[in-house]
């Protein structure tokens, strides 16, 4: 009798434990398998392709770093630097403008204004790609509404240029910055400002010695996030400028489709690898900064 009881007691506990553990692994397995096939295989193919060349005559492939060297030379280097410059300039501008806008909204007494701006930012930050490009072409392009009515062409304006792209990129980067920086601005306690004022600090001194140091991790984190976002953008640039502004995403697209030269596919893969490295670097900077800024918001 006692023996049966203990057996009855023990068996369900053991089976329950096994039952609970098994689904944990089993339920994650399909996800891992899917990512390995749908993401891992292309990623490895890219890595492999970036380091191989195919001899056109014999069809033999060999490992080399020639693609990577090519991808850092001539037109490809220009494109890579062009992308970095465009992303850095637009990220910097949006960081400053986004901070101003967020500060104006956060310190406002109207709650509706704040809600409206934040909702609109959530929407606009997700708005990129072809429709955005066409909206700007209709506004500031060669036959755009503003261009025609203000006669901008005579003043030397062209949307299909570096600064044109910057103006378009700001349209989704500023809202992204507003979303990123608002929680940090909310974290600035009014007591800090009051304490600084009581100690005789001017507004400038308060910003320089109290607010900005607290905001710095969030600002830097936001800047890197915006940089990465602008760096990876392809659709907007492709729909707008074609290839009149050298950008690495446009170069990769051209090289894959063999538009310019045949046999550049592997250089495209090497360029992709360059991009992944830069994006990885961005993430490596962003994550610790985000963790640091999160400390102030608790």
């Amino acid at each position: 009798m006692t023996a049966t009881l203990t057996r009855v007691d023990v068996v369900p506990a053991a089976s329950q434990k096994r039952r609970r553990r098994a689904p944990g692994w089993l339920a994650v397995l399909p996800l891992l398998a899917f990512v390995a096939v749908a993401f891992g295989v292309p990623a490895l193919a890219m890595l492999n392709g970036a380091f191989t060349v195919k001899n056109q005559a014999t069809g033999a492939t060999s490992y080399t770093t020639a693609n990577l060297t090519d991808s850092l030379q001539g037109a490809y280097l220009t494109a890579l630097l062009g992308s970095v410059k465009l992303s850095a300039v637009s990220a910097l501008l949006s960081t400053v403008l986004g901070l101003l806008l967020a500060q104006a909204v956060v310190t406002s007494r109207f709650r509706t204004l704040r809600e409206a701006v934040l909702t609109a930012s959530g929407v606009l930050a997700n708005f990129g790609g072809v429709p955005l490009a066409f909206a700007f072409v209709a506004t500031l392009g060669n036959s755009g509404v503003l261009t025609r009515h203000l006669g901008l062409t005579d003043k030397g304006w062209s949307l299909y240029s570096f600064w044109g792209l910057v103006i378009v990129y700001l349209y989704f980067l500023i809202p992204l910055m507003v979303l990123t920086i608002t929680p940090a601005l909310d974290g600035l306690r009014s007591q800090w400002r009051e304490a600084a004022q009581n100690n005789g600090a001017t507004a400038v001194q308060y910003w320089r010695h109290v607010a900005l140091p607290v905001l710095l991790p969030s600002l830097l984190g936001g800047f890197v996030l915006l940089f990465g976002s602008a760096f990876a953008a392809y659709a907007t640039a492709a729909a707008m400028v074609g290839s009149s502004v050298p950008l690495v995403t446009l170069q990769i697209a051209d090289a894959i489709s063999g538009n310019v030269l045949v046999g550049q596919e592997n250089v495209a893969l090497a360029l992709s690898l360059d991009m992944v490295l830069i994006a990885g670097l961005v993430m490596a900077v962003y994550l610790p900064l985000q963790r640091r800024s999160a400390r102030w918001l608790a």
Binding site: A27, V123, F134
Partner: protein, 271 residues
């Protein structure tokens, strides 16, 4: 204080101007055609335009398939991670963030390399048929695979937030005590509590697939966004009209989502 307010209105006014003028100008561009005066023809032409309906249908089908696959993969995995296997949690988090490090254009460069293996190396093996099926222009499965990967970060974030708000273990244990099977517990106890997060994830995925251009264009398929691009060269008014409409639709979706998110948040705060 007055100076502060002047500064604030300057910033807000500037922002309003910058964000509203392109929209207003786009609408004006589509209705005020030079030499024709005010006309709404561009909007009337959309439905009848060559390739519009097939492109839109393809995009919607892709979106439905992507949402189904990504939720089927992610929901059981995320719930299981909450219930146990804590060591797998950071692994899944890293895996779901990987697509953020690989820009879409780099990802599609890898995909197009893999797709070329089909004709080059595998033409005599049964795998070749798989490669052909993947690229069926009527329904390119390869795009679904790519979009699921690209949606992982968003879906992970919104499901994680949703699961954080509820006590999954208690829910599942309560359901199991009442005699539910694990699958029943998931469907009848956990999922209803995750409705907000599931809708959030679906909306974000929908917006992603409807607007996706890079992967589809490079691989040579023509869903909605690629179609807009292709009419841009020849029919400027039409393409801007479709852009304006697609913006409004995406915004309506995202605003609905924001409203929904706001409501769930207040509900959670009240409860």
């Amino acid at each position: 204080m007055a100076r502060l307010n002047a500064w604030r209105w300057l910033v807000l006014g500037g922002a309003a101007l910058y964000f509203l003028v392109p929209l207003a100008a786009s609408v004006l561009f589509t209705v005020d055609v030079p030499g024709q005066g005010i006309t709404f023809d561009a909007y009337g032409e959309i439905v009848g335009a060559d390739g519009f309906l097939p492109g839109l249908l393809l995009s919607l089908e892709l979106a439905a398939a992507t949402i189904a696959v990504v939720l089927l993969l992610m929901v059981p995995a995320m719930v299981a991670l909450r219930l146990g296997a804590p060591r797998l949690r950071p692994v899944v988090e890293v895996i779901c963030s990987l697509p953020l490090v690989v820009p879409p254009i780099a990802f599609v460069a890898g995909i197009s390399t893999v797709l070329k293996w089909g004709p080059e190396h595998l033409s005599r093996t049964p795998l070749f048929q798989t490669f052909v099926a993947l690229q069926n222009p009527d329904f390119p499965v390869v795009l679904v695979l790519a979009y699921v990967v690209m949606a992982l970060p968003f879906v992970h974030r919104s499901l994680d937030a949703g699961l954080r708000a509820i006590d999954v273990r208690t829910l599942v244990e309560a359901a199991r005590s009442c005699g539910a099977s694990p699958a029943q517990a998931l469907v009848t106890a956990v999922l209803p509590n995750l409705r907000g997060a599931l809708l959030n994830a679906s909306f974000l995925t929908l917006a992603l697939v409807l607007g996706e251009f890079t992967v589809a264009q490079i691989l040579g398929f023509q869903p909605f966004a690629v179609w807009i691009y292709s009419v841009g060269g020849s029919q400027a008014q039409l393409s801007v009209a479709v852009s304006v409409l697609s913006l409004l639709v995406t915004w309506a979706l995202l605003l609905a989502l924001a409203g929904l998110g706001g409501r769930t948040r207040t509900a959670a705060a009240k409860g």
